[in-house]
Subunit: 364 residues, 2 copies
DNA sequence: GTGAAAGCGCTAACAT
DNA sequence: ATGTTAGCGCTTTCAC
């Protein structure tokens, strides 16, 4: 393992001082003699010199990298988001440090602490916990934080940026879609309603019901058990939720789920119980949320609410890059709420009001 | 934004020198007076001191972090792998830098270069390109590289570590499973066979056919078009592959796919063409590879070949942590080949040798 | 236009 | 048992 080529080696080879090389590297070459410039450039190429990020960072305090904390990249939604973020970041020459929080606030804190110690001063956090207090100390020290999938809350510190889809509208679109199909008993399946986005999706569901004059029924909302960390196995929670709703004396004819993984789990349970998706008389309509890559490929293709992932990633990174280092504390909070889009596919269908003439399936 | 607490602040508060603090921090406290130790510990707590990774790294050259380069975290297999790696890494206090190569060797090189410049001296690379020459220069400079999903090749440099499932056996298991069900016309769907793992899975497929006395037919192997970078949309390639095989004068009755995403895409196409999965007379059996989280939830649940992801992640990290900094060049190459496991689910079924008594579907 | 010098926060060899 | 010192590779005043 050879020793690294340093800025001094380059300086020596080009017969200039390290500061001159540094000046060129950092664009302060306005009044530099073309000949000197050429000598330096040549030396850099010949020696294969690459400046050390570490040294630069120690000196400047700026990290050319930021953290990305998501519940779990094992969920394709977060995987796609991570990819989108990384792709935008790369264009700016930024590196991305990925962390899986599993929705555990303690892990979130530990990770962000760790990132901070690594010189990272900006983090995109993809969990929409109600309170971000566990990150406040670091924010007060100067951490730039962007919350993804979490609408801005009144009590949030002003230097917290936010990007989110309009979750209320999303929940509403999903529910209205089913209402328009004539469904009246509509279930809602989610893990613990412990995040802003889930609260708002549920609120959208209620709002849609109300507007349609359909009474809200508590028993049709399944919201997991216990504290319910864990995107570890959303699909499993979807299964459990569906099982619970099917156990009801009068099960729903359609279901809104908190995301596509839940939807897929819910469908699996329904099928195992002999129900068709969708089914007019003996079955269920299911709508998801996110529109993951797999949604259109699922059997049946999943009706879902799409989040504009690329736009959101772009905005998050812009937010993080804004006022790098500057001291403009008293600015407007940076925040965006993006429009969701209902994507109607085959997992939802009209509710049949009349009974079937004859039902072959009952023979089975 | 307050100034950071440094080791000097701690030293001052504890009325010792920075080196004493450093000694304690780095476990060189064998003969340190308990009282001094206590004073230092107390000062650290009170000031909320956290050592700077950057400074430490600049000094030691060691990066408490490594890179993870995968084709794309949008594919749940790589998402799960990334999560497994990160989870093991965290237990060691290591950070993980995630990079999506999209299977583009130029991107791989650029990323690894970038990581190297960032002081990262070890990288797990999850693409099994035939040649790793584009990374050779850096390896010669001392980069520790672990190839994941790529069996060790004779021409590989000795300091390249490898972890992989036994892909030959995997391809064989998948094919034998279908053969045992009586299938004789078995298709193989993959993107460009430009990686070691794909070559070996295909070889396993051939070996199984041969052993069963079934002639290998070129037209039953669909291997994408062009160079075919991109895990960007494996499912889409699966669709295309299936479409091509169904266009054959005599289509296969079963199909082995290069991974679960391909399988899911292939199923979607087959269904769209009115075929059942699996189907005795008018349908297809499909087997995937990887056993992603979604495989059991798919409709029908996917028969697939499981990779022992956690074991592989653990091994990869052990390999990376081995001989950190040491100069043992002439050691045995580190390499592991792990056993795959066939997971039989509902997407495969017996091939019917007799024709159906009456075929209702032909009416449609 | 270019260079000398100081220092970012830490560690480790060497003194005491 | 603890302190002194000299950097790691880079940037950035401030001189010339």
């Amino acid at each position: 393992m050879k020793r690294e080529v340093t800025i001094r080696d380059v300086a020596q080879a080009a017969r200039v001082s390290p500061s001159t090389v540094s000046n060129l590297l950092n664009g302060r070459d306005g009044r530099m003699r073309p000949r000197t410039k050429a000598r330096i450039t040549r030396a850099i190429d010949e020696l294969g010199y690459r400046p050390s990020r570490v040294a630069r960072q120690l000196r400047t305090g700026q990290a050319q990298a930021f953290g990305l904390v998501v519940p779990s990249v094992a969920n394709p939604f977060w995987g796609s988001f991570a990819r989108a973020v990384e792709s935008v970041a790369m264009r700016h020459g930024d590196q991305v440090l990925l962390c899986n929080s599993e929705r555990d606030p303690e892990r979130e804190r530990a990770y962000v602490d760790e990132l901070w110690a690594g010189g990272i001063r900006a983090v995109i956090i993809g969990t929409s916990l109600l309170s971000l207090d566990h990150l406040r100390p670091l924010m007060e020290r100067g951490l730039r934080l962007v919350a993804f999938d979490r609408e801005r809350q009144p009590a949030d510190p002003p230097n917290l940026a936010s990007v989110s889809v309009d979750n209320l509208l999303g929940g509403q679109l999903a529910t209205e879609h089913l209402l328009a199909f004539g469904h009246r008993r509509i279930g809602f399946i989610s893990g613990a309603i412990a995040t802003v986005s889930r609260q708002r999706r549920l609120a959208g569901y209620r709002a849609a019901l109300e507007r349609a004059g359909v009474p809200f029924r508590d028993e049709l909302v399944w919201a997991g058990e216990g504290n319910g960390y864990g995107d570890i196995d959303s699909a499993e929670l979807g299964r459990q939720g569906m099982a619970a709703l099917l156990d009801l004396p009068e099960p729903p004819s359609a279901v809104v789920t908190i995301n596509d993984m839940y939807a897929i789990g819910a469908c699996a349970t329904a099928r195992a119980a002999g129900l068709a998706i969708p089914g007019e008389h003996h079955g269920l309509s299911v709508v998801g949320f996110d529109d993951i890559v797999l949604a259109p490929l699922f059997n049946p293709p999943l009706t879902t609410v799409r989040q504009p992932l690329d736009d959101m990633a772009r905005f998050a990174i812009e937010a993080i890059r804004r006022d790098t280092g500057d001291e403009n504390e008293d600015e407007q909070p940076i925040s965006a709420v993006m429009p969701p889009q209902l994507v109607a596919r085959a997992s939802t269908a009209a509710f049949a009001t009349t009974l079937p003439a004859n039902d072959h399936r009952s023979a089975h």
